[in-house]
């Protein structure tokens, strides 16, 4: 493996860790932003109607694929996000290398397992005004009656394609965005959150 110090997160150039230390106390900032730590992201495609496929996946991940659109399924150290009728994103901590296992288990199931861990930055957005910030750039109905913890959606945020995953009802969100858009989207989020007060928080695992 390469020297881990060489690896750079998509937003490494912004020096967020330093900022998060400097900014200290959360105070009354309405919005907390962070770059979420590296995760293994695996794009999974396959036939959800195929029991064997489902079983194989459940076997490896310890959790079944979410069949309902815009939902997620969480297992031990792994979360699966629904992306489409035959497409999911498997997210896990980087040390859990289930990629190979998935590949092996799904061979012959007409599935496609593709590692995309480096494709997207994940931005954590929490705080009392987190929802308002999203409302500035996202046309989804994010009201708790319509979108809650455990829901996810592929949508547009400020003209960038994102996967929005609500992780908590505080509310808290993980925003997956293509790596090349990460700098832009971060800038946009900070700008949008400006009126509520922004604090950059450390990447908590």
């Amino acid at each position: 493996m390469a020297d881990p110090f060489q690896w750079q997160s998509p937003l490494a150039h912004l020096g967020l860790a330093a900022r998060s230390n400097r900014e200290g106390d959360p105070g009354d900032a309405g919005v907390h932003l962070s770059e979420r730590p590296a995760r293994t992201q695996v794009n999974l495609r396959g036939d959800s109607a195929d029991d064997a496929f489902n079983e194989a996946v459940t076997m490896v991940l310890g959790v079944g694929l979410p069949a309902r659109p815009n939902t997620t399924a969480a297992g031990e150290g792994v979360t699966v996000l629904w992306l489409g009728p035959d497409e999911w994103l498997v997210v896990a901590a980087p040390d859990v290398d289930r990629l190979a296992a998935l590949e092996t288990a799904l061979a012959g199931h007409g599935a496609a397992v593709t590692e995309v861990s480096e494709s997207r930055a994940v931005i954590g957005l929490t705080g009392a005004n987190a929802r308002e910030v999203l409302m500035k750039g996202c046309a989804l109905d994010l009201h708790p009656r319509a979108f809650r913890a455990g829901r996810c959606a592929q949508t547009l945020l400020a003209r960038a394609g994102v996967i929005l995953h609500q992780t908590g009802n505080e509310p808290a969100y993980d925003i997956y965005v293509a790596r090349s858009f990460a700098d832009y989207l971060w800038t946009w989020l900070e700008d949008a959150a400006g009126e509520y007060g922004v604090r950059v928080t450390g990447a908590d695992t």
Binding site: D3, Q6, Q8, G46, A111, A112, E118, K136, L185
Partner: protein, 996 residues
């Protein structure tokens, strides 16, 4: 400072908070709660503007958004804003405003000569004049342009910020008057998500300016209670200072909130997806059309009492009320109560007999029933009116005129429901002939109109209607009806008589003679103009509008449209509904550009995409080029170098030592499944069955029209797995294209696609030292040319990083494309840069890349092609499979694609080796001394090649391949270089270096 026209008590202004302001350079004082208009009136300032065309003096007409006469230039400097109606500007301390469209001042305006010349300027006169001599038109036009326009544009960048928010709700209530508040309450009580938007600073609507009572107390107390209840509901959002300005398809409604915040957001655009809309937008009072009805001091009756009741301002000392309805009697009563002398009520109706005239009578106010105002005296301010009795027909006046001194004329021609939003929603207005007004017809979307907006003018009925609509809307949005009994507040209903509609008030002279009868005050459109347009055949209401400009000003005809079309109907001898209305379009009131753009400006104007190595490039002096949304280094600038020097240096390095390119932006698609090769067979022109694992192949993709769409190298990663690369600009398009075919046409193919463009950072090493440099970083990949031949790939590690290395080349040099997980891109890049120092490693940009590939005669899609070029045109027949079908194949058989004289790709060598042709330059075979000259093609790529020591170019030339060796001409502005048509492969045509 004295506010000469301010009442000592009452009103909704805060006398504890005096605010200083200036208007036209003079200082005044008003109070918190004032608008600029009310503050000016409080100071006795009535003359505020000059009209658009004739520059006639104009005073404040209204107390709301329908204002036509009082656009002002607010502030100066970067925050200046033209054309804001004084009635819409909330007063603040230090405000400064000025009249527009007058010079040198609003008091003395040089352009007032236009009024004297107005006989020569009827509607649309410009279409009939300024035609001779024809070439003078542009000079005439220059003068016209200088005269036109109202305020001035700021000369600075806007210092303020704007933003946008999306919102979803069960019920949107537009308008916060009694009807709207009642609707919001009823809906809110069900727990529905309710938004209520009110364009004014305060909720309450008409009630703010009236002396109505609800439940036996001042109506305003009911408003306060309603607001308190709404504010306590967690799912209700109250948006004051927010105008609902656009009603779009599928119940999408746009709101503009004025926050006025100079630090945060000045304006916010709300984009609301609504389940049920309640339109409670009220009604706008109609003025009356009579002789010289535009004089300062003539004001809408409702506005006059709003000024008195809400702002504690008397807009005049001695008033005449001129009306066709009972409502204006409220003005008479309220003004009298405020201490204004009411000279008389001039009522077009012979025998006014409702409750209100009775009350006026009881107050001792003189009522002239069946009379009309026939003349207005006083140019910059009314000082008297002449009134005459109407004859029995109502078509003429007779008898002796009576002169009544006054400085205020309060006019009312009835009320028009504010149908704009209803109309925008697709609804068609229905004409209520009995009352001569347009009311909402059938709903086309999930909306309903209530209160005055629905033609319901009694307060009690407004409240009932509001309540019912609010509850129904919540139910329609899926909320259960509230258990609580809704008690509709009690209001004593006043009996009001019918209106008498005389669309043009008869006077001493026929319309169009002597006096002017204004219909549209904004655009100076008179009744005579409308008659003229009908006379000349511009009789469709849409023609009349455009011929006279009726309703085309910033107010969009809020006070003029109905009178205009009634006059037109009369002129045509048609009924009003047969004439029809013009179309209401968004926005309801003007919307600031900045708010529509929101924060999508400056650094956020359009997302910028950056590669993992972007910041390295920046530090290394890269000059970037935009490719789609990507920023790509075009070349790396060094002090004292020109761009040409830099590109030469980069090109030489690639051929003589080693050069390094960030190719991360290329599109990459992971293709998996047993039918992957079949998919490739169908979308690429060549055959893919025989490609071995770990081998790569170039592919060309056509549109179904046979034209080149994209190209790139695809590698076979495994038995059922391929990696396709696309051009940078087409990455998303190609991915979409493949998905489209798979999903819509070939669902039977077992293939899955995943975009991995962003997963990999791509570093290309090119040049004779590339292998040695890379060799230092990898132990598990045998880089030997035999072990790792051209057009193959290896997976292993580079610098300890898991990598895919491709031996492909766009430069024509021995070259390695190293793909590593994006997070390692920068690490790999810096490692290679460090170790490459001893070879003089040189980063190169897109410009050098373009030169290098042009030396080889390789095409760039989008540069050598433009959507009209086939593979045959490019001389790439070798890539067309004869055996199989592929997308676009059939189109190549069409007659035009078979033409022999199609443009073909060729090389061009200028006679002067130092002369670089401009890219895009046109080529002729025969030079004439002046155009027209038939063109045979154009230069697609052109560079100075440092490696060849001369310029080279690629071109598309008619029948080009047959012209090899011919000399052609490239006529430019200042010179006409000659060039010889050559083979496009200029450098190493055998490709030895590639394989080496």
């Amino acid at each position: 400072m004295a506010q000469s026209h301010r009442l000592s008590d009452g009103g909704r202004i805060d006398r504890e908070q005096p605010l200083g302001f200036t208007f036209n350079g003079k200082s005044y004082q008003g109070y918190a709660g004032d608008t600029l208009a009310s503050a000016l009136l409080a100071n006795g300032v009535m003359l505020v503007g000059r009209s658009f065309k004739y520059h006639r003096p104009r005073g404040i007409l209204s107390a709301g958004v329908e204002e036509t006469n009082a656009p002002v230039q607010l502030e100066t400097g970067p925050r200046t804003e033209p054309n804001l109606p004084a009635t819409e500007i909330e007063l603040y301390d230090g405000l400064s405003a000025a009249s527009v469209n007058c010079w040198p001042s609003v008091e003395i305006d040089a352009m007032e000569v236009n009024d004297l010349l107005s006989r020569l300027m009827p509607a649309a006169f410009y279409y009939k004049t300024f035609m001779w001599p024809a070439r003078f038109w542009m000079s005439y036009e220059k003068a016209i342009r200088q005269a036109a326009g109202l305020g001035t544009t700021p000369v600075h960048r806007d210092p303020d910020r704007y933003d946008k928010m999306h919102l979803h709700c069960d019920v949107l209530v537009a308008g916060g008057g009694p009807a709207g508040l009642a609707a919001a309450l009823a809906a809110g009580r069900t727990g529905a998500r309710v938004v209520i938007a009110e364009q004014q600073a305060e909720f309450g609507g008409a009630l703010l300016g009236e002396r109505d009572e609800i439940d036996g107390a001042p109506a305003i107390e009911w408003v306060a209670a309603a607001l308190a209840e709404l504010a306590a509901m967690p799912e209700v959002r109250l948006l004051p200072r927010t105008t609902v300005f656009g009603y779009y398809d599928h119940n999408f409604v746009a709101l503009l909130e004025h926050r006025g915040d100079t630090v945060g957001t000045r304006k916010r655009l709300w984009k609301v997806r609504v389940k049920q809309t309640v339109l409670a937008t009220g009604a706008i009072e109609r003025p009356l059309v009579f002789a010289d009805n535009d004089r300062p001091g003539i004001m809408l009756a409702g506005a006059a009492r709003t000024y008195a009741n809400r702002f504690a301002v008397t807009p005049g000392r001695r008033a005449v009320i001129f009306t066709n309805n009972d409502d204006a009697y409220r003005t008479a009563l309220d003004l009298k109560a405020a201490g204004v002398e009411v000279a008389c009520v001039v009522d077009l109706r012979g025998d006014p007999d409702g409750d209100l005239p009775d009350r006026a009578d009881a107050q001792g106010i003189e009522v002239l029933g069946g009379w009309a105002v026939t003349a207005v005296h006083g140019r910059k301010r009314v000082n008297a009116v002449e009134v005459m009795a109407l004859d029995a027909s109502g078509e003429a006046v007779d008898g002796e005129p009576r002169r009544i001194d006054c400085d205020l004329v309060c006019v009312s021609g009835g009320w028009n429901p504010t149908l704009h939003l209803f109309s925008q929603s697709g609804g068609r207005a229905r004409f209520d002939a009995a009352r001569s007004l347009f009311v909402p017809g059938d709903s086309m979307q999930a909306e309903c109109s209530v209160g005055a907006a629905n033609g319901t003018f009694g307060l009690a009925s407004c409240l009932t209607e509001g309540h019912e609509a609010g509850a129904a809307a919540a139910a329609g949005a899926g909320r259960r009806r509230s258990q609580k009994r809704i008690s509709v507040p009690r209001v004593a209903e006043t009996v009001e008589g019918a209106w008498r509609n005389l669309w043009v008030v008869p006077g001493k002279h026929p319309v169009g003679r002597r006096a002017k009868h204004f219909v549209d005050l904004h655009n100076d459109v008179t009744a005579a103009d409308i008659q003229l347009s009908a006379r000349e055949g511009y009789e469709s209401v849409e023609h009349t509008k455009r011929y006279t400009t009726l309703g085309m000003g910033p107010d969009q005809g809020k006070t003029s449209n109905i009178a205009g079309l009634a006059i037109l109907a009369r002129e045509r001898g048609a009924d009003i509904p047969d004439v029809g209305t013009t179309t209401f379009r968004p926005p309801y009131t003007p919307v600031t550009f900045g708010a529509l753009a929101g924060r999508d400006i400056g650094p956020l104007a359009d997302p910028v995409r950056r590669t993992p190595m972007h910041h390295w490039h920046e530090r290394a002096g890269a000059v970037f080029e935009d490719v789609g949304q990507w920023k790509r280094p075009r070349y790396y600038h060094r002090p004292s170098e020109t761009m040409g020097d830099a590109v030469d240096r980069e090109c030489l390095a690639a051929r003589n030592s080693v050069a390094i390119l960030d190719a991360s932006t290329l599109g990459k698609i992971d293709i998996q499944g047993p039918d992957a090769a079949e998919l490739l067979n169908r979308v690429y022109t060549n055959a893919w069955d025989a490609l071995a694992v770990d081998r790569c192949r170039y592919g060309l993709m056509l549109g179904e029209d046979g034209m080149v769409m994209d190209d790139g190298v695809t590698a076979r990663l495994g038995e059922n797995r391929y990696l396709m690369t696309t051009t940078t600009g087409n990455a998303a398009r190609v991915m979409g294209w493949l998905e489209e075919w798979l999903q819509t046409e070939w669902p039977e193919l077992k293939v899955h696609l995943t975009s991995v463009t962003e997963q990999w950072a791509t570093v290309t090493l090119s040049g004779p030292h590339a292998r040695r440099l890379l060799g230092a970083f990898t132990t598990d990949i045998d880089l030997d040319a035999k072990a790792f031949p051209f057009m193959s790939l290896r997976q292993g590690t580079v610098a300890g990083i898991p990598a895919r290395v491709f031996r492909i080349s766009f430069t024509g040099e021995s070259s390695f494309e190293i793909n590593v997980p994006a997070g390692y891109g920068l690490a790999l890049w810096t490692a290679l840069m460090g170790a490459g120092e001893k070879y003089g490693i040189t980063p190169y940009g897109t410009e050098a890349m373009h030169v290098l590939r042009a030396e080889k005669g390789f095409i760039i899609v989008g540069q050598e092609t433009d959507g009209t070029v086939t593979p045959v045109d490019l001389g790439m027949d070798w890539v067309l499979s004869k055996k199989k079908d592929f997308i676009g194949k059939r189109s190549l058989d069409r007659a035009d694609c078979q033409r022999l004289d199609r443009k073909q790709l060729v090389g061009l060598l200028t006679e002067d080796p130092n002369s670089v042709l401009p890219e895009g330059a046109q080529i002729v075979s025969e030079l004439r001394d002046k155009p027209p000259m038939p063109m045979i093609g154009h230069v697609t790529s052109s560079y100075f090649s440092a490696n060849l020591g001369r310029s080279i170019a690629l071109a598309l030339v008619k029948d080009g391949r047959a012209r090899q060796g011919q000399t052609v001409h490239v006529p430019l502005d200042d010179r006409t270089p000659r060039a010889v048509i050559a083979d496009p492969a200029f450098y190493d045509p055998e490709g030895d270096r590639l394989h080496g």
